[in-house]
């Protein structure tokens, strides 16, 4: 078993406000293996983007990492001095943002932005950097790359711009790519293409991917494993097929039931009553207890730990506590 590329342990992210400290991420722990695509799913506000931001060290103040550890290939990165962290960004961890229309500086050509990034991290000549940039653009599917590389961002359509963004995120050859809702702002017809490009190019380079999205369909198609976030806590994590077909956490089950499929015939989509609590009103015990049909008294008292299950799955739900002793650690 190769060691994981990324290891997050008990990550706590807090936001001090004048009305008290809000805990946006509460003891989140997970690993990403080499070459794997981990999907991170949850509703808006569950903390998915924050996790990505915390890993790459770009949390916006006053948010801060209050405790926990983040390890990149066995090296700790959450407590690095700023200059060292800067060198990791782009070179070892790449990031793709959501909105391609605002991710690129409008005053510079694509060539200038690519070459700048390449030369920041790699000691190559201008010419060499340009060669690599053109090759990369070609690889992400920009037609006539050698000519279009000198265009400005506004000369490209949304889907094309996102391909440029992917190229930029990968041009310094990172080992891990965090993609934060990479297709949410795109037309449906283009979404699949972009996801494919992302997946292929990362697989080619052996890079792992942390795919953040609220779209389960994308996860089902693309990810190897999936982590479900709820109110800043990890609810469930496991191989994609297992979690989708046999969700263990009641929240995940509710999520799956609410997704329409072409094959099932159901009268109504299941809806989970209520809504995710706001950060300043998280109930005691399990965050899901007000909406959970299977909650019992322990659920209202203690916050559930991540309980290991078969096949490397983990669930944060007291329903599975008694079964804990029967399963060996995966």
């Amino acid at each position: 078993m190769k060691p994981p590329i990324l290891s997050v342990r008990d990550l706590v992210v807090e936001f001090p406000t004048r009305r008290g400290t809000l805990r946006a991420l509460d003891h989140v722990s997970f690993d990403i293996a080499e070459g794997e695509v981990l999907g991170m799913v949850g509703e808006s506000g569950a903390g998915k983007s924050l996790t990505g931001a915390a890993i790459i060290g770009l949390l916006e103040p006053p948010g801060r990492v209050a405790s926990g550890e983040i390890w990149l290939r066995g090296e700790r990165i959450d407590n690095l001095p700023r200059e060292k962290m800067r060198r990791i960004r782009g070179r070892r961890i790449g990031m793709v943002f959501q909105d391609p229309l605002t991710s690129l500086n409008p005053l510079y050509t694509v060539a200038e932005q690519l070459i700048e990034t390449i030369r920041t991290h790699m000691d190559v000549s201008d010419k060499e950097a340009r060669k690599r940039a053109v090759a990369l653009l070609d690889r992400v599917g920009i037609p006539a790359a050698a000519r279009r590389i000198d265009d400005y961002p506004h000369h490209f359509s949304g889907g094309m711009r996102q391909r440029v963004v992917i190229a930029l995120a990968l041009c310094a050859e990172p080992e891990l790519v965090i993609a934060d809702e990479p297709t949410t702002a795109l037309d449906v017809s283009v979404q699949a293409q972009i996801i494919d490009v992302l997946k292929e190019i990362c697989a080619e380079r052996g890079a792992s991917v942390m795919l953040i999205t609220h779209d389960m369909g994308v996860i089902a198609e693309t990810a190897d494993r999936v982590a479900v976030l709820y109110a800043g806590r990890l609810a469930e994590i496991g191989p994609v097929r297992d979690v989708i077909q046999a969700a263990e956490h009641p929240y995940t089950a509710g999520l799956m039931g609410s997704i329409p499929t072409l094959t099932q015939t159901a009268e109504r989509l299941t809806q989970i009553p209520g809504s995710m609590p706001r950060l300043n009103a998280i109930p005691q015990g399990c965050a899901f207890n007000p909406r959970c049909t299977k909650a019992f008294d322990r659920c209202f008292r203690d916050q559930p730990d991540l309980i290991p299950r078969a096949d490397g799955r983990q669930v944060a739900c007291w329903l599975y506590e008694t079964a804990k002793s029967e399963v060996s650690n995966g």
């Binding site: 800067r86 960004r89 991710s103 500086n105 409008p106 005053l107 506004h154 094309m160 995120a169």
Partner: protein
């Protein structure tokens, strides 16, 4: 591109004509030009003759046409107060104002951008807070008060610098008198330039700071950081460049208002420029000078606006629609 220039030129002409109309209306309706030009003993008959001779009983449009025609050649008539051709008066005093405006403009821009960038990047430090506080005072202090206080401190108490006038001036060419080439000239320029430039500097500084803070919040800056670009590359290569684009245009427009604000500074320091001329003309209702000054200022503004528009076009690639818009 050519269409754009033509359109702007046409707009400029319209603005100029409108201003000319206002200026002309001043002539026609404010006070009685005849009464201002002659003594009390002049008989009614002589006044009527003068009226005809000056074409003052022609229909409005004809008079306006004449006015514009003469204005284009630079003929604005004779000053009521000083009995000299207005154009001559203005031209002789223009270099003084222009020199002052240019020096203070350069100072204001350099310090404004410098402080603006600094306070945007180093928020919350004591130096930034001090600069911001001083800037607030700069905006709240009327220009004339700055001038007077500067005179008090530096001219009266410390006696380092002269308190009025231009000092010795030298001719460059046969029209421009400059104070830059003499020591007393340069010394005399300092206090007025600071006075005139301080307000502009604070405006520019606050503008640069606000713009830069906005830019630093954008997605493309976040993405630049996520790519591991150095602080210098992010702050100066990306953020500053994007900040300066709107700043340049607004600063260009400020240049016009510097020339207008020179009215105050020139009064405080008894600087022999067109601003002082204008104030006196307002006091004495010397209409020809008022009208001419108005046209002059309008011309300056229109030209500056035009240049700024062109600059914007040159700097922001999004405005250049030279390629077929991409939808591949």
């Amino acid at each position: 591109m050519a269409a754009f220039i033509l359109r702007r030129l046409a707009q400029s002409v319209i603005v100029m004509l409108t201003v000319a109309l206002v200026a002309f209306a001043l002539f026609r309706f404010v006070g009685d030009p005849i009464a201002s030009m002659v003594g009390q003993e002049t008989t009614l008959a002589e006044r009527a003759e003068l009226r005809t001779a000056l074409g003052l009983d022609e229909p409005f449009l004809v008079q306006f046409g004449n006015f514009v025609a003469r204005a284009v050649t630079g003929d604005f008539g004779i000053s009521y107060r000083l009995q000299q051709p207005v154009m001559e008066l203005i031209m002789s005093r223009l270099p003084a104002t222009l020199e002052l405006a240019m020096v203070s403009g350069i100072l204001a821009f350099a310090f404004g951008v410098g402080f603006g960038v600094y306070t945007a990047l180093r928020r919350g430090g004591w130096a930034s807070s001090t600069i911001m506080t001083v800037s607030l005072i700069g905006v709240s202090l009327p220009t004339f008060l700055i001038g007077v206080l500067l005179i008090w401190v530096f001219a009266v108490e410390l006696q380092w610098l002269p308190s009025f006038g231009r000092g010795d001036t030298v001719y460059i060419g046969d029209w421009w008198r400059t104070g830059l080439l003499t020591e007393s000239g340069r010394a005399s320029l300092i206090l007025p330039a600071i006075t005139l430039g301080l307000y502009q500097m604070t405006l520019i500084m606050r503008l640069v700071r606000a713009e830069m803070l906005e830019v630093l919040r954008t997605d493309y800056i976040k993405f630049a950081r996520a790519r591991g670009l150095s602080n210098r590359a992010v702050n100066f290569g990306h953020a500053l460049k994007n900040t300066l684009v709107p700043v340049i245009t607004i600063t260009g427009l400020q240049l016009g208002s510097i020339i207008a604000f020179s009215i105050i500074t020139e009064t405080v320091f008894q600087w022999p420029g067109v601003g002082a001329l204008f104030i006196n003309s307002v006091r004495f209702v010397d209409v020809p000078v008022m009208a001419a000054y108005l046209m002059l200022i309008a011309l300056v503004f229109v030209v500056i606006n035009l240049i700024v528009d062109l600059l914007y076009y040159a700097v922001d690639p999004r405005l250049r629609v030279d390629r077929a818009n991409a939808r591949h």
